[in-house]
Amino acid sequence: MNRTRSLLSGFTVAFAILLFTILFGIANGLQNTFAEAFVDDANNSIFIRSGRTTKANKGLQAGRRIQFKNEDLDYVKEDFDDKVEFITARIYKNFQVSYRGEQNNYNIIAVHPDHQFLEKTQIKEGRYINQNDLNNKTKTVVIGRLVEEDLFSKTRALGKYVNLGGIQFKVIGVFTDDGGDNEERKIYMPVTTAQYLYGNNDYISQINLTYNPEMDYDQALVFSTLLSKKLKNRFSVARSDQRAIRVRNMAEGTKAVSQMTVGLTFIILVIGFGTLIAGIVGVSNIMIFIVKERTKEIGIRKALGASPKSIVSIILIESIFITAIAGYVGLLLGVGVLEIVKPYLVDYFIKDPGVSNTLVIGATLTLIIAGAIAGYLPAKKASKIKPIIALRND
């Protein structure tokens, strides 16, 4: 009888912990998915693009094309010196690239050295574009891992010359990128080289920058708004013109995601604690039954000289024992279930669901404490049982 009840109360706890573990694991999985979606680019990035004006302003017609130049990049850099961490220009080109017999079409992006940090480009071999390349307008390129794979098949690309639209460029580096295959099919060259070779101008297609990471989201948003305002002023673009100059701040998305994550964690915690409390109440209830069942034994023990303290500890230990063992079983089951369903959850934006060691240890400790709480009131009640009444209980 005693055993059945212990088992039943254990089941309550095991089930509560099982639910808790699965919920927590799934929440972690969702967070992993979000984190991965934003891992490619630095999440404090701001992209500035230009287009045609849609509104007439200051005597200028609508439909005017806005073209950024080197001086505009320098303006942003100098005007917001303390707010900008990294800054780079981007010029987009597309060329037929060939090496010996192999050839393919690739996106070419002309950049400043800072671009490496903005794009989180990881150099696998060689080096990235540096200031020296910019100064000398060297004909050098850094190619993606997949470009090397496509064109050089088995041999190494580093130090070789590739043909970009009829001009020979030396490969000075090979990179990898966590952003996926498309990112690794890109080729970077110095911005000055591109400007010199293709039009001999100082045009740039886009300005990318990261803001000082010490700024919080709200400060970052104020910054990008100000940036947009100043640039529109510089190009005599109407304030309300949404097309001519576009400043996109990644902080907006990041803020939404991190708020969502916080919200999600909060909900999970509430549900988790709810189930845990239900488990504690369950154990507490069963412990009251157990105390009733063991009333006679408690009476005997008291007659033999058991102190109230030792009675409390008997009941507490039983409660902690049941809770800890059952909880641990629930935890193991939960982890097992997560392992099994892991491959099927990827489709539902849940990646690598799981619980950390810290959580497992924390949960175990919580269980022991929970067992103590659950057992305390029944134990206290048991210690107050009068032996004479207990012994009469036949």
Binding site: L304, G305, S307, S383
Partner: protein
């Protein structure tokens, strides 16, 4: 050894109260073997419970071995019970999931003895009641007489000054009853003070003194010629 003076006890029953003990005076010397007799409701069990510190008197004096027993905290009562008293119950009151040896060792555990010492002492007392071979058996594997012997061994384990028995033979057949009584008499011969509640005349006559209770007062208190139990065994 034991001095009781003007002991009163009443139990609340609904709005009124039931006066169970109405001024009991009782002295028991060391080495005595006293039977407390009376019909049910006479207060004999209440008296034994108060002597056993399982219950508390409303008023009156109770001195055990020169120690006034009054206003005890739970903790202190536990210590006194453990040190001074050994209990033998009608229904044996062994803990059913512990074997004979563990049951006997329990009061020693509450004395704070080390495991090895507990086991040795418990084994010695089990041997004394003739159940050394049954040490590892659970209560359900023992006969009634054997259970009571284990209970007696347990009562003796802590070497108490006073042995309290509440109808020790109440659940046993006559032959086994005499068997147990012979053993209790032997303990008394060795010098143990024994106080026993019973409503069986033949068992009472195996004690050295009979105290008769009726409606909460002592009707009669006389010494008797002890009938030795072994002659029936």
């Amino acid at each position: 050894m034991l001095k009781i003076h003007q002991l009163h006890k009443s139990y609340p029953i609904g709005d009124s109260s039931l006066h169970v003990l109405k001024g009991i005076d009782l002295n028991v010397e060391e080495g005595e073997m006293v039977a407390i007799m009376g019909s049910s409701g006479s207060g004999k069990s209440t008296l034994l419970n108060i002597i056993g510190m399982l219950d508390e008197a409303d008023s009156g004096e109770y001195i055990l071995d020169n120690l006034p027993i009054k206003d005890l905290t739970e903790k202190k009562a536990a210590v006194y019970r453990n040190k001074f008293l050994g209990f033998i119950f009608q229904s044996f009151n062994l803990i059913n999931y512990k074997n004979a040896l563990e049951n006997v060792a329990l009061p020693l555990y509450y004395q704070g003895l080390k495991r090895k010492e507990r086991q040795e002492k418990a084994m010695f007392h089990l041997g004394k009641v003739g159940l050394a071979d049954w040490a590892k058996h659970l209560p359900k594997e023992l006969s009634g007489g054997q259970k009571q012997r284990v209970a007696i061994a347990r009562a003796l384990a802590a070497n108490p000054k006073l042995l309290l028995a509440d109808e020790p033979t109440g659940a046993l057949d006559t032959k086994t009853s005499y068997d147990i009584m012979a053993f209790i008499q032997q303990l008394n011969d060795e010098g143990k003070t024994i106080l026993m509640v019973t409503h069986e005349e033949d068992i009472a006559n195996m004690c050295k003194r009979i105290v008769r209770l009726r409606d909460g007062v002592i009707m009669e208190d006389k010494k008797v010629n002890q009938v030795r139990a072994e002659q029936y065994v």
